[in-house]
Symmetry: C2
Subunit: 219 residues, 2 copies
Amino acid sequence: MNSYTEENYLKALFNLANETGEVNVNELSKWLEIKMPTVTSMMKKLAEKKLVHYESYKPLRLTEKGKKEAGLVIRKHRLTEMFLVNKMNFGWEDVHDIAEQIEHIQSPVFFEKMDELLGYPKIDPHGSPIPDSNGKMIWKVYEKLSDCKVGETVKLLAVINTSSNFLKFLNSRELQLGLKIKIKSIEAFDKSMVVSYSKRQNESLSQLVTERLLVEKDK
Amino acid sequence: MNSYTEENYLKALFNLANETGEVNVNELSKWLEIKMPTVTSMMKKLAEKKLVHYESYKPLRLTEKGKKEAGLVIRKHRLTEMFLVNKMNFGWEDVHDIAEQIEHIQSPVFFEKMDELLGYPKIDPHGSPIPDSNGKMIWKVYEKLSDCKVGETVKLLAVINTSSNFLKFLNSRELQLGLKIKIKSIEAFDKSMVVSYSKRQNESLSQLVTERLLVEKDK
DNA sequence: ATATTTTGTTAGTCTAATCTAACATTATAT
DNA sequence: ATATAATGTTAGATTAGACTAACAAAATAT
């Protein structure tokens, strides 16, 4: 069994991993807002438990066991977010902090029940995949809205940033998952986009926004 | 803000308090399965925080502030049990351990939402009162079934012990809150009762059981 | 009334998870 | 190629919450 704290490190390692699965001590330290020496010592502990590959001065990498256990924490987090939104009527902007706590509840049946009541969902309210009960997660390859071209019509399928402020901003523009968005123009100097969707015509979105919106070309 | 551990001590003090609101260090120690010296030092800490009246060698007593905060933890616990039973289809025998964890979630809106979805319940699935949002709890005065007399018909309104084993036993006899129970006879030598309720005629219940069932005389 | 048992406290140790200060290694820039 | 900056580690301190051993006070029994 991993402690509350260990679960948080595992989750962070999973979420921060680059293409090769590597994370630096410094990145992890900044992400968790925990000083580097503390991170180093926790990495040694997790290495003892065969959850992390650790060698001095080398980047960190989760072991297979570590990936699985991290995946299971993320599963609990995302099932919780889905439950809060679909069964308890919370807005998607309000679920992150609660899920950060509930993800550490030790009770397999509790999360199995959530899963069942939700009808075994595959994605969470922000469009992120929910790992299966073995901790395995399949990421669909989405495109950033910021990488799309003028004239294209795309479907909004996920958001990268799940901070309350960003999601409240999306709410204020009535931007939600599933929407079809048409790109009318792109400003050359700041990469901001003018787009149309549902009843909104010619809304302007800054690059900070468009690169956090994940889309699929409309077929 | 009280820590997870502090919340558990407060709750225990509340639950163990006798008529005069007093609890001994020893009782508390046994209840929590934490050694006496640890309890003593925690009591000093809670006294610092004005949550407990503490004097060397004297019984412990929650302050008004302490009672309120303990009541709020119990509120979170009982709302959670109610939610698990009524909204997530758990049996009343399976909710205690999960509620022990969820009661420590720090998120007022989370519990407000539960309360709202449940329709502001006044009692939990075991018949215990749910404290209000100021931590105030009103205990109805029930009678123990074991104190009732032959010939009386009573209504089962609460159970004292909420251990999974006891509740599973009640399930196996189809005993549930709200039932009308008629006392047919009482064995003199072991105080066991023969009772009838719903479709069950002449069920025998040991004193260990009858003194854990809280009832009201049928009017 | 005194001895014994039970209850409660003090003093000091331990572990998990954090920190700072100082030092070591690796990466970057001139 | 070397100086500087960034990153990472070691050593030692701190805090919360637990423990044991030893002692002290209160309750109980003879």
